[in-house]
Amino acid sequence: MADTAARAPGAKAPGAGNNRPRRGKAQAILLSGLGKDNPVFAQILGICSTLAVTNSVRNTIVMCLGLLWACSMSNLSVSILRKRIPSRVRMIIETLIIAVWVIIVDIALKAFAPEVSRQLGPYVGLIITNCIVMGRTEAFALSNPPHFAFLDGVSSAVGYSYVLLIIASIREIMGFGTWLGLPLLGDWWTKWSIMTMAPSAFFLLAVLIWVVRGAILKEGRK
């Protein structure tokens, strides 16, 4: 049986929500990852990749697509198996499933988009270690039916994506003067070297979290 202690925000207790109309609940799940349960600024998950890939918008987009695939498929798979997984090995099984879906992406990139694979190199494999994926399988997929788990995976990934794209856009524009490789600012702009390095992402993320939690998530958060 799934661990009943210390459930992450947004997880539903087993059996809860059965009386709500399906469509309302699906919509609630889809929207939760975008706002109040956003994995990056609400749950503070997936920070390492936020810092690492966001110096280039293009790499960020590929990373987000990879996470979308990994998160939704892992959530789906774990949820399908959820009633049979012995609790003592549940993390091993989760890690295995996540690793398989990410490796599929890695192989597909190597075979069909070798240039992108070379550009991203180690970061694709690191999706396996992204806490969002494991976090959602543990907190949501283990105790919810497959269709909802899939939606939760999508929602978490989309929530992660837009936060990363905001940070990546700022970093690439200020650090390189380009966006997606297209030159935006002319020679008049002195490139901020710090924006190409990880510390800038620390600051940007902190400011973003501060703004969002202060201004938008005022209600219901201590």
Partner: protein
Amino acid sequence: MKSRIGAVLFTAAVTAAFVAPVALLNLATKDRVAENQELRLKRGVLEAAGLAVPASDADAAALFYFRVQRTSAEPGDFYRIMPEGRADGAAEAADAGAAESAFVIRQEGSGLWGRILALVGFEADGLTMTGLSFLEQGETPGLGARIDEEWFKAQFRGKRGPFETVPEGSAAESDQFDAISGATLTSNAVRDIVNAAAAAAMAARAGK
């Protein structure tokens, strides 16, 4: 005890069920991946030789076929670049007596994260560089990995070593090249690789 065996069996079953499709996918794409790598090598050699690399894979392979002679007898994987105008036959079959042709050396070095495999091209004099390209590098994407960008590689054309790095944008002498800001160690690694390749090139020529 029974539940433990059950857990182990379940894990084994799930592992087999999930890993099998991945293994099959890997098998199915193996040839394609190998082809991509071979093509990558060919494009790299052409780029290091300073030749304009065609966009289409077929054209690139054809150009390689006609202009590049692989001679692995020499140390460090050596590619001889045959002069233009040879319309007949593969470069492989040409007479290796052309000791004065341009060439490309494969040189390995240590980057920040792992090994860097570079192809360094030289003119027939063994001193002036024709170009640089990377077969393999695992440097930080967005920082060290920028050594693979056009502007960085292009700065070596026509220059001769031994090289030293200078801050980005200030390369003036012909034995200087712009390092990448924020990627000092990777830039130094490239400097060492290029200098080592030049030394190997000299040694190879002296041995003739």
